[in-house]
Every structure is written in structure tokens, then in C-alpha cells.
């Protein structure tokens, strides 16, 4: 260890003000990608859709009516993984304790959450677009011959779905402040509660299911209602996250 503690050889000049919002968004993206878990989620998100499409193409013999359904369905597998990306960006900080450093550097918690939201939305959209694009490429190259009408819109809607689900995960993660609880919660709702609702009240389930909303948007049906459903899920999660985070003490 440097026994003689010397002053810095040159004065250390820090920024006179806090980081700008774009800089904070960039930092949050780097934070998400700076851990193995974050990179694993992104890789899984990018590869699930094309892998599922490969398996579907390999096991399918019949003709295909429209490419939109397969692209969206396989794309939603990747979108589901992006729920975890959002959770890790918020709840992950509380679970590891690094939230202390985050709020010491930027005490304005709403600004931090805004930066995290923008970061996971951008990452989620990017990963989902790549995933859907790769899945489409697999379908086009190796699948049954089918006009690719509407595929562009489908890929775009999967991208929007990726952003929305990542934001949803971030909001729930911020509200609960605990990674296992948040992950359990979001997947329990999406893979447990909604399918149960589909069994007993299918019309309600179709109306509130955010995954169904993404499919409807890709197919160009029920646009307004589908957009409202997605926005509502994201808004409720983010508002809950902001309200709880602003009041929670960092112990």
C-alpha cells in the first residue's frame, strides 16, 4: 500500500454539475451490460426468438398462411425475457446494495428512475428488434415459402413490446426493491394469473393481456385498445415504482 499518502499529482477536476440525462441514460445502459447476469439476459433475449423459429421451421411441414403470427409469437419469447432486464436494472440495485452508490451520486431519485426507464426501454427495444429480425431471417431463409407482407410491422411491434415489457419489469422492480420477489411477481402474473384468467374469463384475458396487445398491434387490429392496454400496464408499474422509491430509505 502507498504508505506515504500524497496529494493527487494534478488537481482532480470533477464536473461542476450533475450528469446530463442522456449521460445518465448511457451510464444505466452500461450498468445493465456490466454484469454477467445483464449480458446473459440480453443474449438470451436476442437468441430465443430465432432459436424458437428454427425449431418451428424444422418441425413444421405444412404451408404458412401469414408470417406475422410466427414472428410475433417467437418474438414474444424474447420479450418475456426482457421483463427480467427491467427488474435487474431497478430491483437488482436494491438487492445488491449498489442503490446506495447510485443515490449518493444522484440524489434526485425520479431522475435516476427516468434514466433507468429510458435505458431499459432502449435496450429492450433493441434486443427485441434484433430477435424478431433474426427470427424473420430464419423464416425467410429456411421456412415455407410465404409472402413477407406485414413482417416489417410485426418486427416493429415486437420491438415496442420489448421496450414495454422491460419498462414493466423496471417499474415492478423499483416498487418491490427485491429481485427474487419482483421476478416471481412478474412471471407469476404473466405465466400464471393471465393463463388462468384465459381459462375462466377469456374475453377479459384477451382484453388485458399485454402479449395479446402486441399481437393485435402487429396484425393491425384493435389498435387503440391494444395501445391503451400496453400503456396502462407500463404506466401503473412505473408510477408504483416512482412512488415507492421516493419514500424508501436506503438502509
Amino acid at each position: 500500500m502507498t504508505v506515504a499518502v500524497l496529494s493527487p499529482s494534478r488537481p482532480v477536476v470533477a464536473r461542476r454539475s450533475g450528469a446530463s440525462l442522456p449521460a445518465q441514460v448511457g451510464l444505466e445502459v452500461r450498468k445493465s451490460l456490466s454484469t454477467r447476469s445483464g449480458r446473459a439476459v440480453v443474449a438470451a433475449g436476442a437468441l430465443l426468438a430465432p432459436t424458437a423459429m428454427t425449431l418451428a421451421v424444422a418441425s413444421s411441414a405444412g404451408p404458412l398462411g401469414s408470417p406475422v403470427g410466427p414472428v410475433v409469437v417467437t418474438g414474444m419469447l424474447s420479450v418475456l425475457v426482457l421483463l427480467a432486464l427491467g427488474v435487474l436494472s431497478t430491483a437488482g440495485e436494491w438487492t445488491s446494495g449498489s442503490v446506495q452508490t447510485t443515490y449518493l451520486l444522484e440524489p434526485r431519485r425520479s431522475r435516476v428512475l427516468a434514466a433507468k426507464a429510458l435505458a431499459v426501454a432502449a435496450l429492450g427495444a433493441g434486443v427485441a428488434l434484433v430477435a424478431a429480425g433474426l427470427a424473420t431471417a430464419v423464416l425467410a431463409l429456411f421456412g415455407p415459402s410465404v409472402p413477407l407482407d406485414g413482417v416489417g410491422r410485426a418486427v416493429l411491434m415486437v420491438g415496442i413490446g420489448g421496450a414495454a415489457f422491460a419498462l414493466l419489469g423496471a417499474g415492478v422492480g423499483a416498487a418491490l426493491g427485491n429481485t427474487p420477489a419482483a421476478l416471481t411477481g412478474v412471471y407469476l402474473v404473466y405465466l400464471g394469473v393471465l393463463p388462468l384468467l384465459q381459462v375462466f374469463k377469456p374475453s377479459i384475458a384477451d382484453a388485458v393481456d399485454p402479449g395479446n396487445a402486441v399481437l393485435q398491434l402487429a396484425q393491425g387490429t384493435d389498435q387503440a385498445q391494444s395501445a391503451t392496454v400496453l400503456v396502462a400496464w407500463v404506466a401503473v408499474a412505473l408510477v408504483a415504482g416512482v412512488v415507492v422509491t421516493r419514500r424508501r430509505a436506503v438502509q
Binding site: V3, V5, R15, G18, A19, S98, L104
Partner: protein, 290 residues
């Protein structure tokens, strides 16, 4: 500078910090002592804006922490060395903080070198020992070379060389005009490091002042060639004399000058003469016992 006025924190009906006030001036190292659960960490977290105060205020450089434009560049903190993501490398952790502060990337290498973690910088924090995490936390606090440092139990996990290094670091920082607040359970270490003591017990400040005045003096320890003769002379002069545990004489309520004058008047040669001070441990327990 840190100025705390009437700071209070209540959780339901329980008051954990009760009307705490103090001002820390530049150029000083202040020790913040108290038993477990006395309110030290909660007070520090309120100063740093991590825990909202129920009443009162805490100002850093004249402003609430959250109102500082780049707070990490004004107040460097080490509150919990374990509060880092274990999946990141030490270097990545510091790079992210440096970018948030607007500090050049080269400074990361400087602080890693300073805390002797340059070789471990590319390893994941998960594999760090407690002492290494502590040094990483100190490195993070020093990135922007802030004027104010606030460390909670900084010596945890440090070996004797590390403790000595940290003492030099904090004294050097104060010598350059910085302000240091550190809490510690290592009373012996605090006694050698700080200029001033803040003692908290049950959420309230029970002592606040320079180390020397708080510890006080409690008489004189003296050795002489003729101890019996010296004892007689001191008794005749009106001093209370008692034998010490190691062959010395303990003269209560007297100063070294008074004892020296008695010895000189009687032609008695002295071999050792020193004031007796109360130990910090005794002071700590007497102040926090209630």
C-alpha cells in the same frame, strides 16, 4: 464543512436520532463514537440524504446534500463497503462512478494504486476479501478528491498496515484543509487519529469537544531515586499520593510542574514524570452508560 442542526429520526414511536446538532470545520478529523444502535449510521445516512429526517437539517458546504450540483464531488462517503454489485470488476465499479462524477478515467487508476488494488482491479468484486472491499469503498470516496469525507467504520477488515495507512490518509486530508467525519468502534485507533470527539448515546450527543479536553488529566505519575522520600515530601506539601501498579507514585489532582517543584525543593532526583490521562475507553463507557 458539515452543519447538523436538530437532526431527529423517528421510526413510528421509536426515536433513533434525537435532536443531534454539531458543526464540523475544515481542517479537522472528528471521531463519531457510540455503542451499537446509538444512531451513528442513521445520522450519517441523513447527512447524505439516503434516509429522510423526521426533523432538523443537515448541510454539506452550506446546502442540503440533494441540492448540491454534483454531491459526490463535495462529500466522499464510505457507509457500507458491501453495497456494491458483486458481479462487476473493481475497475468497472470505479469507472461508472468516475463517469457519473465527471472525473477523468485516469483517476481510476490513481485511486486503485493508492489503495493497493491495482492488481485486483480486473477481478470481480465477488472474489474480494472484506479488507479489499473496504479499500475499494475508500477509493470510490476519493475519486473526485472531495473536500469532505464521511466514513462509517473505515477500518473494518483492514490489517494494521492498512489502519496506519488510513490514519495517514485522513490526517493528510485534514492537513490540506479537508473535513473528515469518521465513526469507529476501534477506540484506540480513533484516539490516535482524531482532533475532536462526538459521542452519541441513545440517539443524543453526550459529548462534543477536543480529544484532550474530553479525556482530561487525572494527576501525575512520577518515579524517583528515593520514592519514599518523595512520597513524604509530596504528602507534606498537601498532595494525595498512592503507590502505582508498576512501582511509580500516583499523585492525584497535581500537575507535573507542582510535583517537579516539590522534588526540586527537597533535592530529590526524578527518573520519570508524566501526566495521567483517562483512557478513551473509560470516557466512552462513562458517557454512554446511561
Amino acid at each position: 464543512m458539515i452543519t447538523v442542526t436538530g437532526l431527529t429520526k423517528q421510526y413510528g414511536g421509536r426515536t433513533v436520532v434525537d435532536d443531534v446538532s454539531f458543526t464540523l470545520e475544515p481542517g479537522t478529523v472528528t471521531g463519531f463514537l457510540g455503542p451499537n444502535g446509538a444512531g451513528k449510521t442513521t445520522t450519517m445516512r441523513m447527512v447524505a440524504g439516503l434516509v429522510p429526517a423526521t426533523r432538523g437539517s443537515a448541510l454539506v458546504d452550506g446546502r442540503p446534500y440533494a441540492a448540491l450540483p454534483n454531491p459526490g464531488a463535495v462529500l466522499g462517503t464510505l457507509l457500507d463497503a458491501a453495497a456494491v454489485h458483486p458481479g462487476r470488476t473493481g475497475r468497472t465499479h470505479l469507472r461508472l462512478i468516475a463517469d457519473a462524477l465527471g472525473v477523468p478515467a485516469a483517476r481510476v487508476d490513481e485511486v486503485l494504486e493508492l489503495v493497493d488494488l491495482a492488481a485486483a482491479g480486473r477481478r470481480r468484486i465477488k472474489g474480494y476479501s472484506l479488507g479489499m472491499r473496504q479499500r475499494l469503498g475508500i477509493a470510490a470516496a476519493l475519486l473526485a478528491d472531495p473536500p469532505v469525507l464521511m466514513f462509517d467504520e473505515p477500518a473494518n477488515g483492514l490489517d494494521p498496515e492498512g489502519i496506519r495507512w488510513m490514519r495517514s490518509l485522513l490526517r493528510d486530508h485534514a492537513a490540506r484543509g479537508g473535513t473528515v467525519l469518521l465513526s469507529s468502534h476501534l477506540l484506540g485507533e480513533v484516539e490516535h487519529t482524531v482532533d475532536r470527539l462526538l459521542v452519541i448515546g441513545g440517539g443524543r450527543i453526550v459529548a462534543d469537544g477536543p480529544v484532550a479536553s474530553l479525556l482530561g488529566t487525572d494527576g501525575v505519575s512520577v518515579r524517583a531515586v528515593d520514592p519514599a522520600g518523595l512520597a513524604r515530601a509530596l504528602t507534606v506539601a498537601g498532595h494525595a499520593v498512592a503507590p502505582g501498579t508498576d512501582g511509580e507514585l500516583v499523585v492525584s489532582g497535581a500537575s507535573p510542574a507542582e510535583v517537579g517543584a516539590v522534588a526540586a525543593a527537597g533535592g530529590l532526583a526524578l527518573t520519570d514524570l508524566r501526566p495521567l490521562q483517562r483512557g478513551l475507553e473509560d470516557v466512552f463507557f462513562s458517557l454512554t452508560a446511561a
